[in-house]
């Protein structure tokens, strides 16, 4: 069950283009599993009543250490692209940040020691490193494929070598590893590894390519999606995407509580475009006619 706590910044370090933030956050690490995320309030503590940013920022848990310090630590890796993440990137040790976590449903681990391929794009590689360790702990041979636009946005390639049988790296500009996208090398990795399961985390375009490849290859696939979230714990309904349920019906499904990890073949990629998801016509409760413009909640 997630808790809401005032965490203390222990450290904040640059890693390429990203920031690596370590928080002392009581009660968050204990239940955290790979694929879980945290929701951070940005712009000040809620009790200050001053932040102009009312929605929380979601970050995959990179590492969680219940016994690391007196209060347990949680680490995230993030890109400071917008106002809230820039605020986070300017924190200093001993500053306080309000944290909720662990949130979401983590990756489901295989019952048997099967071979797995972990595919990470950009900071999406962060949660896969702990996953790799866990899988290895269960005797699963792990192959890792990590991609990014450029070398400075590759994360965890070295780390991954500790748990992985093999690590493949791609960058779009060729500044590290093979030139191209991680989905370009995936068929090869799948073939070489003979993997039965794929775990993927990264941008939606990448996840879609990976999920489609998994389907064609008949490989089980779990993807951790990234949707804009206001609350992160299930009350606002902003984070939905069309997902097919066990009853075969498509519903607009909350990524924050029913995800962020979904089976790749359950996500209705056909309805998801570069700017968001449409409501498929066959979705439960879909409007009879096209959705009318205008406000409304």
């Amino acid at each position: 069950m997630p808790v809401q706590v005032t965490a203390e910044v222990l450290s904040l370090a640059r890693v390429g283009d990203y920031h690596h933030l370590t928080l002392a956050a009581a009660g968050v690490a204990e239940d955290a599993r790979p694929g879980h995320f945290v929701g951070l309030a940005v712009g000040g503590l809620p009790g200050d009543g001053v932040t102009p940013w009312l929605s929380r920022r979601a970050f995959s848990i990179y590492r969680a250490r219940p016994t690391g310090t007196a209060t347990g630590t949680v680490e995230v890796v993030f890109a400071a692209n917008g106002a809230g993440t820039r605020w986070l990137a300017s924190r200093r040790p001993h500053d306080q940040v309000d944290v909720i976590g662990p949130l979401g449903r983590p990756f489901a681990l295989p019952g048997e020691p099967v071979t797995c391929v972990l595919v990470g794009g950009g900071y999406g590689a962060a949660p896969l490193l702990t996953l790799a360790e866990r899988l290895r702990g269960r005797g699963c041979p792990v192959h890792v494929a990590i991609g990014a636009a450029t070398a400075r946005r590759l994360f965890g390639a070295l780390d991954a070598r500790r748990s992985a049988v093999a690590v493949t790296v791609t960058t779009e500009d060729g500044s590290a590893g093979e030139r191209g996208r991680v989905s370009d090398v995936l068929p090869d990795v799948l073939q070489r590894s003979g993997a039965e399961v794929i775990y993927a985390c990264g941008p939606m375009g990448m996840l879609r390519a990976v999920a489609e490849l998994a389907t064609t290859s008949g490989v089980h696939c779990q993807v951790a999606v990234e949707e804009a979230m206001a609350c992160g714990f299930g009350v606002c309904m902003t984070c939905v995407l069309p997902v097919v349920g066990s009853d075969g019906l498509t519903r607009m499904t909350r990524a924050c509580v029913e995800g962020p990890v979904f089976r790749g073949d359950q996500v209705r990629w056909d309805a998801i475009g570069p700017r968001g998801a449409a409501v498929p016509r066959d979705c439960v409760g879909a409007p009879a006619v096209g959705p009318s413009a205008g406000g409304g909640h």
Binding site: A41, L54, C236, M237, V279, P287
Partner: protein, 317 residues
């Protein structure tokens, strides 16, 4: 004024004859049906849980993006996603009753008939202390004109709902600030049988993504909420309280602290709903109750009811 101990402050309040242990409710659509929030705060300790607006049939809601952050606020265009009334009565209400929450059911429709039908279904339902009627919905029978924007249409909905419900179930009409004359709408729905008013719903707003150069929201426009709109909520509550001093008001709009809650109560609200702040701080109902107690204690006020509408009492400077 002598300072009291916060523990000595009595936060009990009454809305349209319904007694509540404290004035803090969730705002519709900001706490789903209570379950997820219950992970952080015991929802039975809230004044009441107001549900996400429930419609007759299950609704998918709109496509995404459904939200855009704005300065001290946010836009949403969820599109009333929900399980429909059957689903609500089957899965959500029993849970709310089981945990002991006071439940205010928010209902929404696209025609007077849909609202009436929803109310009719509730006749034999127990465990709902009030019904809040979300009339900020487009009326399909009037070219999509929002009910709340027309005193006549608003009254037609409230009248129909009032007629169908058991008399002891209180009806709150939830008003939109997007009107030229909020007092006129208030008068109209009160005349039609509303036992109280909830003010305010979100304001119609819009954001454009300067990178894609297109509207951010899949629904083009959306509802603006959060601290940004608090001055408008205070104004609406104040105006309506001045015009209709006997009508109970539930204040909502941008509250994120005990002071904000107090501000709306001074303007005339008998109780308060917390909306957007819950996304930021699910613990807000507990925190704000504590802050409110402390604020009142410093002012030597032992009973919450004493501050309601206080800003009207002293006349103009």
């Amino acid at each position: 004024m002598t300072t009291l101990h916060p523990g000595d402050v009595d936060l009990r309040c009454s809305v349209a004859g319904v007694e509540l242990p404290n004035p803090l409710m969730t705002a519709s659509g900001c706490a789903a049906a209570g379950r997820e929030l219950h992970q952080f705060v015991d929802v039975s300790s809230l004044g009441a849980v107001v549900t996400k607006s429930v419609m007759e049939a299950p609704r998918s809601g709109r496509g995404t993006p459904r939200m855009a952050e704005t300065p001290s606020g946010m836009l949403n265009s969820i599109g009333l996603q929900g399980p429909g009334i059957e689903g609500f009565l089957e899965h959500d209400l029993p849970w709310l009753r089981a945990v002991g929450a006071r439940t205010v059911l928010s209902i929404a429709g696209v025609s007077v008939a849909e609202y009436a039908q929803l109310a009719r279904r509730l006749r034999r339902v127990l465990g709902i202390v009030m019904v809040e009627v979300n009339i900020s919905c487009p009326n399909v029978e009037d070219r999509g004109q929002v009910f709340a924007c027309d005193p006549g249409a608003a009254a037609a909905v409230i009248g129909a709902v009032r007629a169908e419900l058991r008399p002891e179930v209180r009806v709150l009409a939830k008003l939109s600030p997007d009107v030229t004359d909020v007092v006129a709408v208030a008068r109209s729905v009160v005349a039609a049988g509303a036992d109280g008013l909830t003010m305010i719903n979100t304001m119609l707003g819009m954001a454009i993504d300067t990178d894609t150069m297109r509207p951010v929201l899949a629904g083009t426009t959306g509802g603006l909420s959060g601290p940004a709109i608090r001055p408008v909520a205070v104004r609406c509550v104040y105006q309506v309280r001045a015009a209709l001093p006997q009508v109970p008001i539930v204040g909502v709009g941008g509250v994120r602290s005990g002071r904000d809650a107090l501000e709306l109560m001074l303007a005339g609200a008998d109780a308060i709903q917390l909306g957007t702040v819950l996304f930021h701080d699910p613990n807000a109902p507990v925190r704000i109750a504590d802050e409110l107690r402390a604020e009142l204690a410093t002012r030597g006020v032992s009973k919450l009811a004493d501050v309601v509408g206080h800003a009207h009492r002293l006349g103009v400077t």
